[in-house]
């Protein structure tokens, strides 16, 4: 839960990256994501990951992204071990493990610099059904609330003698029951209350409601989008046509 807080929860920022049109930020993250899938060697992947970290530094979120990477390493190690066991190829296993980290960084960059309101606008751009957009954005918005709930529930149960970090793996999983049940019950109750509150404020009264904020793509946004596409194209070209011949 906590690595989510560092890596995927939006916090207001003042960097130029934060101010970009959310659709441009989505484009950049999508290109980053695709790039991680295109690269074929660990060296290329390392270069790509370094580039991602430069972008994170420009967006002034390098510290948070680095923290996310640390937590991601646990899963990454698991991916490495599973691949080594089944493929018996260490290099490929390292590639997959690092690729996972790079994928998390690329998506994390979008979510930590894009507010739920901006996210809503992005989803509307794709003409997704309003209910779907609302459900998704609300889920994102409630992640910090649920994390706070989890902490409070854990505190309450620890105060009743529950030791969450003791015993073997089975006992630890069983010890989570007193935390998970109140968390799920609270979430269900909260979602019911939210639905009632939304309906009492005319949610769904008109098929196409108006919006408080209208997003317009500025010349700077367009320039950044074009630069991102060009960088991606150059990168892909060099990975496929220049670097392999040099390596040979």
């Amino acid at each position: 839960m906590m690595w989510l807080s560092g890596g995927f929860v939006f916090r207001r920022g003042t960097s130029a990256y934060h101010k970009l049109d959310p659709r441009v930020k989505l484009l950049i993250s999508a290109l980053m994501f695709v790039t991680t899938l295109l690269v074929r060697t660990i060296y290329e992947l390392a270069a790509v990951l370094a580039f991602f970290l430069v972008v994170a530094a420009i967006a002034t979120v390098l510290k948070r992204v680095a923290r996310t990477m640390v937590f991601t390493l646990m899963f990454s190690a698991f991916i490495f071990v599973v691949n080594v066991v089944f493929t018996r190829n260490v290099e490929t296993s390292v590639l997959y493990a690092v690729r996972f980290v790079a994928i998390v960084v690329s998506t994390s960059l979008f979510f930590i610099t894009t507010s739920p309101d901006e996210l809503e606008q992005v989803m509307k751009t794709f003409r997704l059904p309003r209910d779907v957009v609302f459900a998704f954005v609300t889920a994102v918005r409630f992640i910090p609330v649920m994390m706070l709930d989890t902490i409070q529930i854990m505190d309450a149960q620890k105060s009743r003698g529950l030791e969450l970090d003791k015993g073997n793996i089975f006992r630890r999983v069983r010890n989570m029951i007193p935390v998970l049940i109140p968390l799920v019950v609270n979430s269900v109750v909260r979602s019911g209350e939210l639905a009632e509150a939304m309906e009492s404020r005319a949610y769904g009264a008109v098929p196409k409601p108006t919006s408080l904020v209208e997003y317009h793509t500025s010349a700077r946004d367009k320039a950044v989008a074009v630069a991102a596409v060009v960088a991606f194209a150059l990168g892909a070209y060099s990975f496929y046509f220049i670097l392999p011949t040099q390596l040979l």
């Binding site: 505190d155 105060s159 007193p178």
Partner: protein, 270 residues
């Protein structure tokens, strides 16, 4: 005995919740911690069970430093009833809920049975013994959480905002329970915005603002300090307001409404 020595606490987001708090709570004392939202009241009591560890300074519970003692061990001595009962109820039945902590602390089955029966009777929850705790009303849930804490007989009982969602009768019962705990020699710490309901208990009052203790003393004198209370956004008890509004008044403020009524009638010559 609970002792805070120059305790400061900074949250992960950098917010300073406690700023050099020094406080000593003797065994058997009844203490009300009051202050506005965000004053640091809940953060203060979470230090006692080691749920939060001081960023600097130390908290001692019966001489044990909370930094080096587990929450489970401290909880055997200190029971905390948190503000929101929905954050702890999970069992299939009310009696199972009550037995949860007792089993965690390793009580013998016979003792568990006995303590559960005692708690259910004390808080008028016997009829719900086999019901799910999740279907109880807000007030009943609150009473159940308190019963759960008292079941293991901790030396210190901390009540975090116990009056939220309680009607006036339940508040009176709560005052009775606090009185009972005090008679039993327990240390009681009540965190609340609502000093009105605690006025008949006449606790020692600790006033907090911006993570600091800005006032500390007996309710009878501290509640007269209107300026201090206004700064900390604490509302004076109505009987104190009445007392201060009188031109001729007794030396001490009224504790009981009947006492005030009798005095005013006598002063009016009736």
């Amino acid at each position: 005995m609970i002792e805070f020595r120059e305790v400061s606490f900074v949250h992960q987001n950098g917010v300073k919740a406690l700023d050099g708090v020094s406080l000593r709570i003797e065994s058997g004392e009844t203490v009300a911690v009051v202050g506005e939202n965000g004053a640091g009241k809940t953060t203060l009591v979470k230090q006692v069970t080691g749920l939060l560890k001081p960023t600097s300074g130390s908290v001692l519970v019966d001489g044990e430093d909370t930094k080096s003692t587990s929450t489970a061990k401290l909880s055997r001595k200190v029971g905390v009833a948190f503000q929101n009962p929905d954050h702890q109820l999970f069992s299939e039945s009310v009696e199972e809920e009550m037995a949860f902590a007792l089993r965690n602390f390793g009580f013998a089955p016979a003792v568990v049975q006995q303590r559960v029966a005692w708690g259910l009777e004390l808080f008028g929850l016997e009829e719900y013994r086999k019901s799910s705790p999740l279907v109880l009303s807000g007030g009943e849930k609150k009473r159940l959480t308190l019963a759960c804490i008292l079941a293991w007989d901790p030396d210190v009982v901390i009540l975090d905002e116990p009056t939220v969602g309680q009607d006036s009768i339940q508040k009176e019962k709560l005052v009775g329970t606090i009185g009972m705990l005090r008679s039993a020699g327990k240390t009681v710490v009540v965190v609340s915005h609502d000093i009105e309901f605690l006025w008949p208990v006449q606790p020692r009052v600790v006033v907090m603002k911006s993570g600091r203790v800005v006032g500390d003393g007996p309710a009878r004198t501290l509640m007269l300090e209107r300026g201090l209370l206004e700064t900390a956004r604490v509302v004076q008890p109505q009987l104190v307001e009445l007392y201060q509004g009188l031109k001729r008044r007794p030396e001490e403020p009224f504790v009981d409404p009947l006492e005030a009524r009798r005095w005013v009638e006598e002063a009016a010559g009736r």
